[in-house]
Symmetry: C2
Subunit: 315 residues, 2 copies
């Protein structure tokens, strides 16, 4: 493997059109999808291989743009039909999306098949898709250093047993606070974290929107704030871009699950810094609709805000 | 002045009976009141002089207990009539109290008159009372090093002009997030903070319940988490005990408003540590109804949890 490959992330998830209404305005048929947000965010840190499916209506110039970011789009199939379309809205509580409608379209028959390069990816992120598909990806990967996944209430309610099978096989779960309560049946953050970690993922991130996120590991708890932005335009993709920067940071740092035992202090420190990276990335995402802010984000802005957030938690 | 006096805090506010219903249970006619919570919390750090009024029904053994904590209760008048009685409830969202009823009773004619010792207090905390009364206290104090105050939506809606006069005269305001939005008419934390600081208080604390609190000073922003507790029994008094530990820490550290100019870095560091102290104290308060948890709190528990919270924010 080349140095390039050693930090590469395989991301399996959706590329989509989103139609969104927030208190700040409306956006119709804009680019979205978990793998889209994830890969752009991660590409600030490390190469990414995306596996997903789009319809013939998906703009090829966006795929071309992703390529310019060291994002390998060979795993994105262009299928006959229309791209996955999500219609959602947010009321004053910007921490919770309401799904108005979902048209799966070509995503309905999505069945991830990995190439050899993808199978050998050292880092794996399973975005919020059917847990059955998440397991199919895990069946194909060879020897990943770290596997992380996301999920949502739709799967917790609809495919709990399958989701549990996925969770038993991953190192890291990233999930919203409301979903953590739903999945665990617990009412406090600590109790929910304990319950969920017992299902499999030794590392758990509970995201709390504008209130930040919490990291739970064998070594303890880390409470990270969200970077306070002047105006939240659209929270869509905040969680996915958080995960992208988080995983990108982990991959760049060369983390391995074995470090939890061989060097738990370093393992924990890398995870904490990765959470901070995720927090900063998400704060840019919400400043505009779609992936617009991420697409024009400069590395210098990222660094500046990272330093700024570090100062905001220093005692 | 003796060493004892140099760190003494004057606290003006209510002592009350509370009847509270939360998802965890009910408590009828238990001890409450802002000055009660505040002074017990502050007494872990420094002596406190309380000014307030209670009715003849207020248990004298509680006043006697406060005395054992180096809390000077000479300024608590026992008036003919009944003690202030607040009836409140919390639904699942434990961050917001609903007032069911308020019987001011003897508090209706409360008119704080300070003794010479109280007038000379170097630290002053004006709990959440009528801003007209807050100003009357300020008219009487001689040369405080730092003045802090609290307020609430009742005064923001009902006595905004008087509240603004108070704010123009204080160094520190401690307020809930919802109240900060109401007072400022702004929708983001940063914009609200900017607006409110322009009204007078150069130091602003915006409390966000279980999501922590944010400190805004000339030097920047500090984002502090709440200490995550396994079960919140009753959030009543969390803000007042936060303020008590916060002010207690400031007084113990000998802070002075002039330090904002002469040593802004130290000034900011003391404030940040004080916020952490407040966060930890509040986390104990909510573990039981009334001041019960605070009354049985040991200094060692406080220190242990402070270290624990520091580890939870270390990167």
């Amino acid at each position: 493997m080349t140095k390039h490959d050693e930090s590469s992330i395989l991301a399996v998830g959706s590329l989509a059109f989103d139609s969104i209404e927030t208190p700040a305005g409306k956006a119709d048929q804009v680019l979205g999808g978990s793998a889209n947000y994830f890969s752009i965010a991660a590409s600030f840190y490390t190469p990414v291989q995306v596996v997903g499916v789009v319809g013939e209506d998906f703009p090829s110039n966006h795929l071309a743009w992703l390529k310019t970011r060291k994002i390998d789009v060979q795993g994105i199939e262009v299928a006959k039909g229309k791209t996955f379309h999500w219609v959602g809205s947010y009321d004053k509580n910007l921490n919770e999306a309401k799904t108005v409608s979902t048209a799966l379209n070509v995503f309905e028959h999505f069945n991830p098949k990995l190439s050899d390069a993808q199978k050998n990816s050292p880092y794996v992120f399973l975005a919020n898709i059917d847990p059955v598909l998440q397991q199919r990806v895990l069946d194909q990967v060879k020897a990943p250093r770290i596997v992380a996944c996301d999920s949502m209430n739709f799967w917790i309610n609809g495919k709990l047993e399958e989701l549990k099978k996925t969770l038993a096989r991953v190192d890291i779960l990233s999930i919203n606070e409301g979903e953590a309560f739903l999945l665990s049946g617990q009412k406090s953050l600590l109790q929910a974290a304990k319950f969920i970690r017992a299902l499999g993922p030794s590392v758990l991130i509970i995201k709390r929107g504008e209130y930040g996120s919490s990291l739970f590991t064998e070594s303890g708890t880390f409470l990270a704030p969200a970077f306070p932005v002047s105006k939240v335009v659209d929270p869509t993709g905040a969680g996915d871009s958080f995960a992208g920067a988080f995983m990108g940071y982990l991959a760049e740092a060369g983390i391995h699950r074995d470090m939890a035992k061989t060097d738990p202090k370093l393992f924990d420190t890398i995870l904490r810094k990765a959470v901070m990276a995720g927090s900063v990335m998400a704060s840019f995402t919400v400043e505009d609709f779609s992936v617009h802010r991420l697409m024009r984000l400069e590395s210098e802005e990222l660094v500046t805000r990272q330093h700024s957030l570090m100062r905001m938690i220093a005692v």
